[in-house]
């Protein structure tokens, strides 16, 4: 009897331990009539696919994706089981792929999908060709995805964003600034002077990386991204004329009171745009959603590229990015998974995703209006791209955020002092 009791207790403990593991919440049950097409006709059950999503279930994008999955089921009979993994998917997906967990598609930052997980992913080139997908979507992003993976295509980008000068059209109007006049350094300085005269601090900044983003952009415009990468990897900042010139640009902005002082914390610094205190910021276009969600502002937004500063790369180069879908190489339902990706990144659902996220749609035939149209047009005019931080992230072990922010804060009186501080990190 005692042995039986002990065995039972041990089993209880084992089950209790097993029960500690918590599975993420599965997607909500569809409200759409199961097994019926939009026309109300019965649709065959064509199996299911499993999608690990980088979104949280309460985000606007998740709600659109959920609705799209329901529409996809009604149209094809394929059920999409969505697991909302959130942004921490990057800490989970590698282990899941290595252990061949049942996943048919997932998403994350598209550069990470293409570069970090590609050993476990299916090359989508033939699926893209078979379905004529490349003709339907922004070509630049597919090219970038291939660049990341030496010609193979491991990710399908969506939620495309670009970067540049995001501005308050209301502030520009109040100061009488024509955005088209910001086509050179002199044009930018003249606009800053007019904005300051009208009571605005021209540039918003926050401690979340926007100072380095701005400096890196100017630097890349002066010497090109490859040269920025070289500096990032090996140092030699004090010998670089371009690095000195970019630092002097910042000092000019700082000393004339054209940048937010003190620099706000993240995201409070960028919220000053929404409070109508600052007029523009150099960041990816997702800053607009952050400011709207954080402040509830109803200002009119505008977007222009960072002007050409005379270097090898002009205003048709920008730092761009996207989320990206990947399909595990071991998935037995890769075609169904690709079918869902195409369903989501073209036509109606792509337009809806663009609408809620204020990013450019992938589908070139999707027509947009207002700010999204401005961003879409800017993307379509790009001829090249910068990586995040325009190459200054190339060396992951040397981070110059503190030095660059110090330059904006006035810790360095001259460009030479700043450049010497950068070199001291090597």
């Amino acid at each position: 009897m005692k042995k039986f009791l002990a065995l039972m207790l041990a089993l209880v403990m084992v089950f209790a331990l097993a029960a500690c593991g918590e599975e993420p919440a599965p997607s909500d049950e569809s409200d759409a009539p199961s097994g019926e097409s939009p026309a109300g006709e019965p649709v065959a059950d064509n199996g299911s696919i499993t999608y690990w999503s980088m979104w949280n279930s309460n985000e606007a994008q998740a709600q659109v994706i959920q609705e799209a999955a329901e529409a996809f089921k009604a149209e094809t009979g394929i059920t999409v089981n969505i697991e909302w993994r959130g942004r921490d998917i990057n800490t989970q997906i590698t282990a899941a792929l290595e252990s061949e967990t049942e996943i048919d598609l997932f998403d994350d930052d598209f550069q990470r999908v293409a570069e970090q997980y590609n050993d476990h992913l299916l090359d989508l080139t033939s699926l893209v060709e078979t379905n004529g997908y490349a003709e339907k979507v922004q070509p630049l992003f597919l090219e970038i995805a291939k660049d990341y993976s030496e010609g193979a295509l491991y990710t399908i980008p969506y939620q495309l964003y670009t970067s540049g000068i995001v501005y308050s059209a209301d502030a520009f109007e109040a100061a009488g600034v024509d955005p088209a006049s910001i086509d050179s350094w002199d044009g930018l300085i003249a606009a800053c002077a007019a904005l300051k005269e009208a009571g605005y601090v021209p540039f918003a900044l926050d401690g979340g990386g926007s100072p380095r983003y701005m400096y890196s952009y100017f630097l890349a415009r002066l010497i090109g991204q490859d040269a920025v990468k070289e500096l990032s990897m090996n140092g030699g900042w004090a010998e670089s004329e371009g690095a000195k010139q970019a630092a002097e640009y910042i000092i000019e902005l700082r000393d004339n009171g054209y940048v937010l002082d003190p620099i706000g914390t993240y995201p409070e610094g960028e919220y000053t745009l929404g409070y109508d205190e600052t007029a523009m910021i150099i960041l990816p276009d997702y800053v607009i959603s952050e400011v709207i969600n954080g402040t509830g502002t109803e200002i009119e937004w505008g977007f222009i590229p960072v002007p050409d500063l005379g270097g090898p790369e002009d205003e048709t180069y920008a730092n761009v990015g996207a989320q990206g879908f990947g399909i595990p190489a071991y998935s037995e339902k890769s075609e169904e998974a690709f079918q869902f990706i195409e369903f989501l990144t073209t036509g109606e659902w792509d337009a809806k995703l663009a609408e809620v996220s204020l990013h450019s749609p992938c589908d070139v035939s999707n027509e947009t209006t207002g700010l999204v149209a401005m961003i879409q047009e800017s993307i379509s005019e790009l001829t090249g791209y910068y990586d995040y931080q325009c190459g200054s992230n190339e060396n992951p072990d040397i981070r110059l955020n503190t030095e660059v922010q110090g330059l904006f804060e006035g810790q360095y009186a001259t460009a030479d002092e700043f450049l010497a501080a950068c070199d001291s990190r090597y």
Binding site: K3, A10, T94, Q116, G207, D387, D397, R399, N401, T402
Partner: protein, 297 residues
């Protein structure tokens, strides 16, 4: 009760198996991994390649790792002094017969039951905020200039103060229990001899708290070596030299960071092993420096 071997085995099995698989195995695997080139934590051992001490030599040659270790030392030393001083002060005050002892004890301990994320957000947005933070409102009320507490000059100090504030209550409770263990007749005898309050503290309380100091220092070291959340909250989007600590660097190395997709679990393991060795060294040094209580009371 008659001992039954099978009963002992059954009851211990779950704990032993859990210990072996969830603690011993990961420790051994991490130590071995630190001597190999390994891309991801869960990569099959067939993909590992021998690296010898390369992961360690590269690590110590890396600027950001050295910066992170320097920041960690400052947190341990300066934060430790601040936290232990306040914890001891509060513990002594609360055991001196002050009224509402239970209320003050609960109030000082309260930050420990609040999530570190919530605490850090509270400090960032409501205390240190340059626009509407309490600290600048206070300074301006008395005619002083506002300070940007979260700029590159002040952010480390701001983070340290916030972290220490959240830690004082925990260490105070340990000091409190240590002081309450000291028999009251020792203090009474001292009082009869005309000993003052400071002398009682200096010559009775402090010497009899040596063991408690050792415990607190061990806990403090463990806590600072795993410092992570506060850095992530004070530098939420990018790793900054001003706030980076080894565990944050480890996280970046193992999982990548914004715009950085190169990952290196072998080097991450080397960071983990280095931190564990530091912990052992600190423990050994403390055991040598702070002798076991030679007084029985």
């Amino acid at each position: 009760m008659k001992k039954s071997k099978s009963m002992i085995v059954c009851f211990m099995a779950a704990a032993v198996v859990t210990l072996l698989f969830m603690y011993v195995y990961p420790i051994i695997r991490t130590v071995i991994m630190s001597f190999f080139n390994v891309e991801s934590v869960t990569a099959s051992t067939s993909t590992w390649s021998w690296a010898g001490l390369d992961n360690y030599t590269k690590l110590f040659a890396t600027s950001i790792f050295r910066t992170s270790m320097w920041n960690l030392l400052k947190i341990w030393l300066l934060g430790g002094l601040l936290t232990m001083a306040f914890a001891l002060l509060f513990a002594v005050i609360l055991t001196s017969g002050v009224r509402f002892k239970n209320f003050f004890r609960a109030a000082i301990y309260l930050p420990n039951v609040i999530s570190a994320v919530a605490m850090a957000a509270m400090w960032r947005y409501y205390v240190f905020n340059a626009r509407f933070g309490f600290l600048n409102s206070f300074l301006e009320f008395f005619g002083f200039d506002a300070v940007n507490w979260l700029d590159t000059t002040h952010i480390f100090g701001a983070m340290l103060v916030a972290y220490c504030f959240g830690s004082v209550g925990y260490f105070m409770l340990i000091f409190l229990s240590g002081i309450e263990r000291i028999p009251s007749d020792i203090y009474e005898a001292a009082m009869i001899d005309g000993v003052g309050a400071f002398q009682k503290f200096r010559y009775i309380t402090l010497p009899l708290l040596r063991g408690v100091f050792k415990t607190n220092l061990t806990f403090w070291t463990t806590s600072t070596l795993t410092f992570f959340v506060w850095t992530r909250m004070f530098s939420p989007t990018e790793t900054e030299n001003t706030t980076v600590v080894p565990v944050v660097y480890l996280y970046n190395v193992v999982f990548g960071s914004k715009g950085v997709t190169d990952v290196d679990a072998g080097r991450g393991a080397a960071i983990g092993v280095t931190l564990a060795i530091i912990m052992v060294i600190v423990y050994v040094v403390m055991n040598k420096a702070i002798k076991e209580d030679d007084l029985e009371f």
